[in-house]
Symmetry: C2
Subunit: 220 residues, 2 copies
């Protein structure tokens, strides 16, 4: 049996994490690397997509590339590394999850809801998000329905994530700072942006049926 | 403190349900009433929808009315009756949940995942399913995207329902009979039918964009 090397900083305090190793990178480094990598991904997509795209489509391609890679790199690592909290090599991806667990210890504790949501994110939402970049770039007919579908899954996942936390006492954050910054603010991006995309796609799809209907009327 | 009146039939055996009252209606009565009520709802929708609808649209209206009323009556009762297992009046809706809990005791035990999924079903999916009946009946432009959205939420909910059960040991059924009949077979309707609806709506939406595109090309 492995001894606990250091008391962990997570709440609830009685969460068992034998072999826990504290964060070796600073909060600034962890967030800074994620921020810089995200900006680089967005800049790459922005420049290779070139001129023919409307501004909004370029912004959406950046979003889909960013969220898709977040699911497929960060969340995929989480899914396949149940003992990330024992890592003592300062490996960036384990540092991310040690840090994020301060906002929601269900990650370190491997709550079945979290693992379920991460399975869906890695297997389904990640690849589908990258497909959305391609669909917008190539002007595919399925572009709007795909973006709607992935955004709706984001919203369902976030709803399940927040509601289960509330039902279980909403006490998984190490401090109010981590609660509001990591748990509330960071996750709210995956509410606000998917909601906006769903509304836009819904309108575009209704408009397509409207145009199709007018065409049928005219062709009578 | 209330004494346990009778040992409950659910698994895990150590689930605490003080005041449990066994089913007062037979399995045949519970399933029979649900079956007959569902057939009556479908028949009502079938006859009031009349002749102008294609066969498939009539079938879909029956499905949406059936699933919408299931969410809004059965599941709504579950949500607001945390102590349904204590009911000794043979009230039909509490009898349903006492019986279904034999296939998945997380219902009687009020697991937070189950309550979360039921909140979404009652608040969102139930009303949206009934709106789908209206949307098909009136040929609304949003008919396909609405049906797609509700079916996708069904699929996400069922995925979370099954994956969390598997991750938590898949041991919530009173016997293999209840496991396969209640947990697997009954829920599989909410996989097979929503999948078929999603595929159909996806194709219809792509076809609408295709027609819109052809119209634009022709009008140049």
């Amino acid at each position: 049996m492995e001894a606990t090397r250091s008391p962990h900083p997570y709440v609830p305090r009685d969460l068992k994490l034998p072999g826990y190793v504290p964060n070796l990178l600073s909060q600034l480094s962890i967030l800074g690397i994620y921020g810089i990598a995200s900006v680089l991904v967005a800049a790459f997509i922005w420049f290779i997509s070139g001129m023919p795209f409307p501004l909004l489509d370029k912004v959406l391609m950046c979003w889909w590339a960013f969220t898709g890679l977040t699911h497929m790199i960060l969340e995929s690592y989480y899914l396949f590394s149940p003992e990330f909290y024992k890592d003592e090599s300062a490996f960036y991806l384990s540092e991310v999850w040690k840090e994020y667990s301060k906002g929601d210890s269900r990650y370190a504790g491997r709550d079945s809801v979290i693992v379920t949501l991460e399975i869906l994110a890695v297997v389904l939402v990640g690849p589908a998000s990258l497909l959305a970049v391609y669909a917008i770039a190539k002007g595919k007919l399925y572009s709007y329905i795909l973006q709607f579908a992935v955004s709706l899954i984001h919203l369902c996942g976030t709803a399940v994530y927040f509601i289960t936390a509330l039902l279980e006492g909403d006490d998984f954050a190490a401090s109010p700072f981590y609660y509001y910054f990591y748990f509330v603010v960071i996750n709210s991006f995956w509410i606000v942006i998917p909601t906006a995309i769903c509304i836009r796609c819904w309108k575009k799809i209704c408009a397509a049926f409207n145009n199709q209907g007018q065409k049928k009327v005219k062709s009578r």
